[in-house]
Structures are given as C-alpha cells and as structure tokens.
C-alpha cells in the first residue's frame, strides 16, 4: 500500500472516492495578486457507474464540483493569502483531483470529505527568496527542507438529505437506490463551529421550513461528528509519517528514540494539528544541535516526540518489520470501522499494534478486503462505540417527528507515504 502527502481515500458505505492534491507555482490573477488559487477537478470515472461516460463532464459532475468548491472557497476554509510567494508574480495554485471510483450514492458528501482529508495531509515545498536581488524564488525539495502543510481554518462538511413524495419521509446520506427514487434533495455544508457555509437545494419537491430547520440541526451534529473522524484520521497519518522518517535510521531509534518516546507517554492527547506542527518546528532546531546523527533522523525524532499518542510499542514492532513496508501496521488494512479507530486511539492503541506485529506478512494478502469484514477483536469495541452512535441518532429520532434513517457506515482510509530511501 502506498501512501502520500496530499492523497486520501474515502469509503462511505459503498461509495469509494480518492482525492489527490498537487501544487504548482503560477502567476496570480490580475485582480488578486496576493492570493493563491484553489481548483477542484472531479472525475466521474466510468469505473464508478456504467452510466458515467468519459469526455465532457455531465451535469451532476459539474454540480458536485461546484458544491465542493463553494464549500471550500467561499467559506475561506483554505487560507489563500498564505499561498502567495511573490506578490503579483508567483503564487501557489492548488489543484484537487477527485476520482470517483464507486458510486454507491451521495457522492457530494464523500467527495467533500476526500477533498478535506487530502488538503489536510498535503505538504507544499518550502520556498524562499534568494538570488541577487532577492527576486529569485528557490523551491526547496523535500529532502532539503521539510515541506509545509496548508493553513486550513475550519472544515466545511457537506451533509445531504433526500426527500420523498410522502411528506414524512426524509433520508440522510442516500444510497444510489434511494437517489433513483427520491423527489428532492438538499445539501447543507456546515462546519463544527456551527456556521452554515452553504446550502444547495436544486429544485425538486417543496419542503416545509420546519423540516429544513430540523435538517440543519441534524446536519450540524453530523458535521461535528465527521470533523472529529477526519481529524483523527489525519492525526494517525501524521504520526505514521513521522515514524517513517525514523524508519530510515532504525539504529538511532534503539539508541535514543525509544527512551525519549517512553518519557513522553503521559503527554495530554488533546492536540490539534496546527499545535502539533508548530511544536515540531520548535523541536527541530533543538535536536539538530544536540544530535550528530544525520538530519532526516533528527526531524523524525523531533516529530515523533510531539506527535506521540502512546504508540511506542507500535514503533518498536514497526522497525523490525521494515521490510514489510508501511502496510505492516496499517490500521485501515481490514476496512476497520472508524468507530473502532476512535476507540483504539482513546485506549492508547493497545489492540491494534499487537495484532499488526503478530501478523505483518499475512496482512498483505487480506489487504483492502471488503468493507463489511472486520477482524474478530474489533467487534467488542465496535459494539461499544456503536451504542454511543445510536445514542446520538435516537436523540435525533426523538426530536424529529419524521422517520429519519441515518445511513451511517463510514470508513475512512487516509493514505500517506514518503518517498523512501529507495
């Protein structure tokens, strides 16, 4: 399994979408010389549905692109001013490619999550001004200087509802069968702070105001839920990424790394991504002066300290399984339910690492098995988490007079990798 900065894979029930983010230096628009640009390309691959054709994007493809684009651009989720390198001359143009692999319904929500997850894991090369007049821009390759993440202020999450001809029937996250028979749909894009970023209701059956308000309330609860899941997945990716840097120099770990990691075990876990990254940058210069090991090892150690979530046992196992590659301790390789993932992160990952260490090679084969499968030991925690999930929905069902059917099988895989020493 390969993972990379700026790529993500989302599975929402049967819907499967991949997102890739790339960046390029271009000239800015005339009327916005200080801002970078963000563009979204949606590929309705014929792989996803027999009715999708190559060539000109269909109406629904264009609509999907517009909804995701509006959620990101107009809510200013991505800070475009930080993408400016040289005002008026060079800015970063960020391009998001969303590939729809499997259409199981509700492509908008899944595409939105894929775009957000890949933006959060994307790293752009650091540039500095140099040359004679300080007008030349030097782009530093990732081996020289650590690439930087994008500045993302908040995560706008799209939640889609489907309406049916019978007034009391409302569905959240419709599957493709439901989409075929529903008479109206509405997509609400909100963030975890409770701000409504966008609402799209393209025609269809008229709906009462009270129903719209109830949908928005439900959506707001879903949004905070999904935001947490995305953030957890990105955290895991960042930890893995840091560990991969350590893997390059396994000897340095046994000397210093493991000792340092165990000391930091009791750190509070409530970091968000921005804090984590700023600490990484702080710790780097400190380590650089102290150690005389080679630089990638340093960066790795600095990052590992700050991004520690009690995974020291995993790391020791991981280094010995280096030949098996990153897949040997992939938490998502069996389509793990993200509820389990939350539980595993909360309980300091005791379940998952032991399992992975015991069976590093065997995992290669059942890789990417069907999402419905889950290993035996996942079930106890999953059921515990399921209770809390249904608790949320029961609350939803009580407040709504209508029959709300949450279709909630969300599993997420965040991909990440680094170019190996090979």
């Amino acid at each position: 399994m390969c993972r990379e900065d700026g790529s993500s894979e989302v599975q929402l029930g049967q819907t499967h979408i991949m997102g890739f983010v790339t960046g390029q230096l271009v000239q800015p628009y005339r009327d916005r010389p200080n801002e970078g640009t963000l563009s979204i390309f949606t590929e309705f691959s014929p792989m996803a549905d027999p009715s999708f054709e190559t060539g000109r994007p269909s109406e629904s493809a264009v609509e999907l692109g517009r909804i995701v684009d509006r959620g990101l651009r107009e809510s200013r989720a991505v800070d475009t001013e930080s993408l400016c390198v040289l005002a008026g001359k060079l800015v970063w143009a960020i391009r998001i490619d969303l590939h729809i692999l499997d259409n199981g319904g509700n492509l908008v929500d899944a595409a939105n999550i894929a775009a957000l997850a890949s933006l959060l894991t994307f790293r752009r090369p650091e540039c500095s001004l140099g040359g004679e007049d300080d007008l030349e821009v030097i782009v530093h390759p990732p081996e020289e200087r650590e690439p930087l993440p994008l500045i993302i202020h908040h995560l706008p999450i799209a939640v889609t509802f489907g309406f049916f001809s019978s007034e009391s029937l409302l569905v959240i996250d419709p599957t493709h069968h439901e989409e075929a028979v529903m008479v109206g749909k509405m997509t609400a894009t909100l963030n975890a702070n409770g701000d409504v970023c966008a609402i799209q209701k393209p025609g269809g059956e008229g709906v009462l105001q009270s129903v719209i308000m109830q949908c928005l309330r439900l959506a707001s609860r879903m949004a905070s839920d999904i935001t947490k899941k995305i953030k957890d997945a990105v955290e895991t990716y960042n930890t893995e990424r840091a560990l991969r840097k350590i893997k390059r120099h396994p000897t340095s770990i046994t000397l210093d790394g493991s000792v340092n990691l165990k000391e930091k075990l009791n750190e509070p876990s409530g970091h968000n991504v921005v804090n984590e990254l700023s600490r990484k940058h702080l710790e780097k210069p400190r380590l650089a002066s102290a150690e005389n090991a080679s630089s990638p090892g340093n960066n790795g150690e600095g990052e590992s300290k700050s991004s520690n979530f009690g995974r020291s046992s995993r790391r020791d196992g991981a280094t010995s399984n280096f030949v098996g590659g990153a897949a040997s301790w992939d938490p998502y390789s069996r389509g793990v339910d993200s509820d389990f993932l939350k539980a595993s992160l909360a309980s300091r990952g005791t379940l998952t690492p032991k399992k992975k260490q015991q069976d590093p090679t065997g995992e290669r084969k059942p890789n990417e098995s069907k999402p419905e499968e889950s290993p035996g030991d996942v079930i106890p925690t999953t059921s515990a988490m399921d209770v809390s999930e249904t608790g949320v929905h029961k609350g939803g069902e009580k407040t709504l007079k209508d029959a709300v059917k949450p279709k909630h099988k969300r599993k997420k895989k965040a991909f990440s990798s680094t170019a190996d020493a090979s």
Partner: protein, 218 residues
C-alpha cells in the same frame, strides 16, 4: 556482477506483490494490483451490447480507458490504452460474444516504476473477476538495462530514470496441470516462453539470457 539496488533487492528479484479482487461494488469485475509502491486499480464492465464504429462486429471488442493520477489525459495515456487493448485482445476469446464491448477502466493510484506492467496485471485480474472468457492469463514484467550492461527486473521510479533502456514484456502464464500432458508445446518450445507484447524504450543491447531468467521468475 553484484548490483547494488537501493532497496536491497537482487537484480532478478521482484517487489512484493499484492492483489485484491472485487473491491468495487458497481463494477462487474475489479482488481487492485500493487508491486511495491506502484498501485493500479482496474474495473471491468461488460459485455455491453454493440460495438463502436471502427470495430469488427463479428468479434467482441475491448475498450480501455486509462485514468492518470492527476492531470488531463494526454498522449502517453493514449499509448498505454492502445498497448493494453491489443494485449487484452490477444488473451481474451473474442469469438464467444460477438458484437459486444467490454470496457476496462484503469485508475493509477500511485506510480513508482513499472506502471504499465502493473496495469496489465491488474486488468487481467479484473477480467478474471468479471468472468470474461480468456485463453490464458497475461503476466507482465518490466526489465531494464543500465549503461554497464547489467539487467534488472521490476525497477522503481528512481531506478527507471537512471536506466539506459527498458522493456515491458508480457507472457502467457505457465500452465500447472495435473494431467501428464502438461504444458502444450508450440514448435518444440513450451508455450509460456512466447511473448505476447513487448514495448521497449531507449537502447538495449541483447540480453536474452537475462530474459530467460526473468521468464522463469514469473
């Protein structure tokens, strides 16, 4: 001669392979194939009624769509589509379902060298998953030669860039048979040595002995 490959492999050693089938729900057949870090996803829909204008309606036709990781479809992608189509046409039994089209869609997930062989293998696995009738399986490998004349198999992207020339070779798979008749002989040579497709880039001096070794590794 001893060759130092960056990831510690022998010159004849392949990267770890992984394949999963039936990963997509809507597609009739799907497979994901990864060789080391190179990963390709293939989906098959078919057979669908009707053939395109230029195709022979007395045979089944195969349509290949190649989706790159990012960016628009350009000339290299079109070339891959053509090579893949011709390879698949030679392994599928085209006389069984005349006047139908089978679509094969390839999505590149990650490219770390030997992309086209990986895609051919993925497409073959997806066709098997979809139940399309085939004569035999296609096994693809990339081998490249360096300036100094040594030959290595299954290069990574970094290794590919350093090489003087490389060739993609596709062979039929060897037949494992319980019956004493075993593998069929074609003109005195075992069938699995026949090359279905070969694509070469750059300049290569003959290295047939290494090719023979590579065949035995498949």
């Amino acid at each position: 001669m001893e060759v130092d490959r960056a990831d510690g492999r022998n010159p004849n050693q392949l990267r770890p392979l992984a394949c999963s089938c039936s990963i997509l729900h809507r597609a009739h057949g799907s497979a994901s194939w990864s060789q080391g870090d190179t990963k390709v996803l293939a989906a098959v829909y078919g057979p669908k009624a009707g053939t395109k204008k230029n195709e022979n309606p007395e045979k089944a036709s195969i349509e290949v769509i190649w989706k790159p990781r990012t960016g628009q479809i350009g000339k290299p992608e079109k070339e891959y589509e053509i090579i893949l189509k011709r390879t698949l046409q030679s392994i599928c039994i085209l006389t069984i379902n005349p006047n139908t089209t089978t679509s094969v869609i390839i999505q590149v997930v990650h490219d770390d060298g030997a992309l086209l062989p990986c895609a051919i293998n993925a497409a073959c696995a997806a066709l098997v998953d979809a139940g399309i009738p085939m004569k035999h399986l296609a096994v693809a490998i990339c081998c490249c030669s360096a300036e100094s004349g040594y030959c290595i198999l299954d290069p990574t992207k970094l290794e590919e860039q350093k090489m003087k020339g490389f060739a993609y070779l596709v062979f039929p798979n060897s037949i494992l048979s319980v019956l004493p008749e075993g593998s069929s002989l074609v003109q005195g040579e075992p069938m699995e040595h026949g090359i279905i497709t070969s694509v070469t880039h750059g300049a290569m001096s003959g290295n047939l002995s290494t090719l023979r070794v590579s065949v035995s590794h498949l």
